[in-house]
Amino acid sequence: MLSILRGFLILTAFLMLGDITVELFALPLSSGVAGMLLLTLWLLLRRRLSHDLGAASQPLIGMLALLIMPGVVGIFFQADEFSGQWLTIFIALILGTLLSSLTTLWLMQRLVASPRERPHE
């Protein structure tokens, strides 16, 4: 339990660091994302993951769906705002996702396959 709290302290401190970085350099980033990048960088430099950090991050990541839920609910109360836009939104999402899935698969497949073919040339 204390281990989770210690890990939580580290995470929240990195969130604060993210706040400071975003404010100081006027970055168009959310402080959570800035904190995440700083934490990753710090872990890469240290090359070691402490038990505390693992103990705190695992339950928090597991809670993400719950934390996002209040935002999802808003769509039911703000749907009027986008009336008349729904067809556009659906077409953009469905067609856009189909095209981008196709592009990623094609690109990645070509790039992964090419080094293996080279010895046969």
Binding site: L11, T12, F14, L15, G18, P28, L29, S30, S31, G32, V33, G35, M36, L39, T40, A56, S57, Q58, L60, I61, M63, L64, A65, L66, L67, I68, M69, P70, G71, V72, V73, G74, I75, F76, F77, Q78, F82, Q85, T88, I89, F90, I91, A92, L93, L95, G96, T97, L99, S100, S101, L102, T103, T104, L105, W106, M108, Q109, L111, V112, P115
Partner: protein, 242 residues
């Protein structure tokens, strides 16, 4: 007796203002949503969070509690989204070794793939004359929700619309990648997994773990990298263009 009634009346005014009311409703709807999901035998097209959100919306509509009041109260809980987003750095760090084994295809695929994941949808919506709020809400549609919420606030889009977009994108990416891989005769779990993570964020990653651990690892790598990369380029780009 009349005094008790008076107190009851004042309670009806204060209770909706209390954070615990919003938090109890949210947690109750969450667990009810999970139950319903299991009872429906885990349908892939309808993640438990959508069921829970529908239940919560129903509760809010029935109770004398406005969405604004609810939103203010629940912010005591949703503040945790900040440290939870920071926590995503831990799995990102743990997956870094996958980049070492296949760094060239990953480094070359990620930027165009992540840019197009946003670009196609925004381009199509723009051609169809969508207003700026809609464009801003659709742009981070392939990014994992906690990061996407941060991005959409930077772009001044609508968080609820983004949530809907994330859901449709996740389901659509899972469906189209499964079918396209079958038609295109692509069997490499690294390729399929990476594509699922880049385009279908958490929903795609769940599907990738169904395929196998390698696909799952590459999906979470693709999801994390897309989130980080998009959080960096999209807001900058938005300021230059808009």
């Amino acid at each position: 007796m009349s005094e008790l009634l008076l107190r009851l009346e004042s309670l009806a005014h204060t209770l909706p203002q209390r954070p615990e009311t919003a938090i109890v409703l949210t947690l109750a709807a969450y667990f009810a949503g999970l139950r319903l999901f299991n009872w429906l035998r885990s349908p892939a097209w309808c993640p438990p969070i959508l069921l829970a959100a529908c239940l919560l919306a129903g509760l809010l509509a029935l109770l004398p509690l406005g969405y604004t009041e609810y939103h203010r109260g629940v912010s005591w809980l949703t503040w945790l989204l900040g440290p939870a987003t920071v926590a995503l750095g831990v799995p990102l760090y743990q997956q870094v070794h996958h980049i070492r084994t296949l760094w060239k295809p990953i480094v070359l695929t990620l930027p165009p793939a992540a840019i197009l994941a946003a670009g196609y949808a925004v381009g199509i919506a723009w051609l169809l004359d969508a207003p700026p709020t809609v464009l801003a809400s659709l742009a981070p549609k392939s990014v994992t929700a906690p990061i996407a919420m941060g991005i959409v606030e930077e772009l001044r889009g609508s968080v609820p619309l983004l949530m809907g977009a994330l859901l449709i994108t996740g389901v659509m990416a899972t469906l189209s990648i499964t079918l396209l891989a079958r038609w295109g005769n692509i069997h490499d779990p690294r390729v399929i997994g990476f594509a699922l993570g880049v385009n279908g964020h958490a929903i795609g990653t769940v599907r990738a773990f169904d395929i196998g651990p390698t696909a799952g690892a590459f999906a979470s790598l693709g999801m994390s990298l897309t989130g980080v990369f998009t959080a960096l380029w999209l807001p900058m780009m938005w300021y230059f263009v808009g």
